[in-house]
Symmetry: C2
Subunit: 84 residues, 2 copies
Amino acid sequence: MAKIIVEVMLKPEILDPQGQAVASALPRLGFTSLKAATSVRQGKRFEIEIQGDPTPTQLAEAEQAAQSLLSNPVIETYIVKVEK
Amino acid sequence: MAKIIVEVMLKPEILDPQGQAVASALPRLGFTSLKAATSVRQGKRFEIEIQGDPTPTQLAEAEQAAQSLLSNPVIETYIVKVEK
């Protein structure tokens, strides 16, 4: 059983209000060592579970799905990888 | 520059309507090889960017933040890891 993982994050130049909210909440809630964090970004993670190892066709289609269905290419980037 | 990554996913026993919507959209949109996917789950990914390597204190606080701020322990699980 393997998983095709698609990670979708906002592009670095796009403002991320959710991430900023987390970044400002962290020190306020007592996580003072994380005040040194230069940035916090929030994104999405999709796990597509496959029986056995993914075929090259499945990986290619996951890549296409990541681009057209799971992310917005105007503001987001994605990474496709496989986890066993 | 390292990143502390927090991945938050719904627990396996919790219904994931967003994941199900993706799972049913994939074959409909022509990604027929992914019809064989046994499940699609959608979760969240946080990237906390740190100058240099994270200290043990920062990692411990990220773990606590993942539990108390970034996930809902009733319905979600989380993983904390470091990416260089």
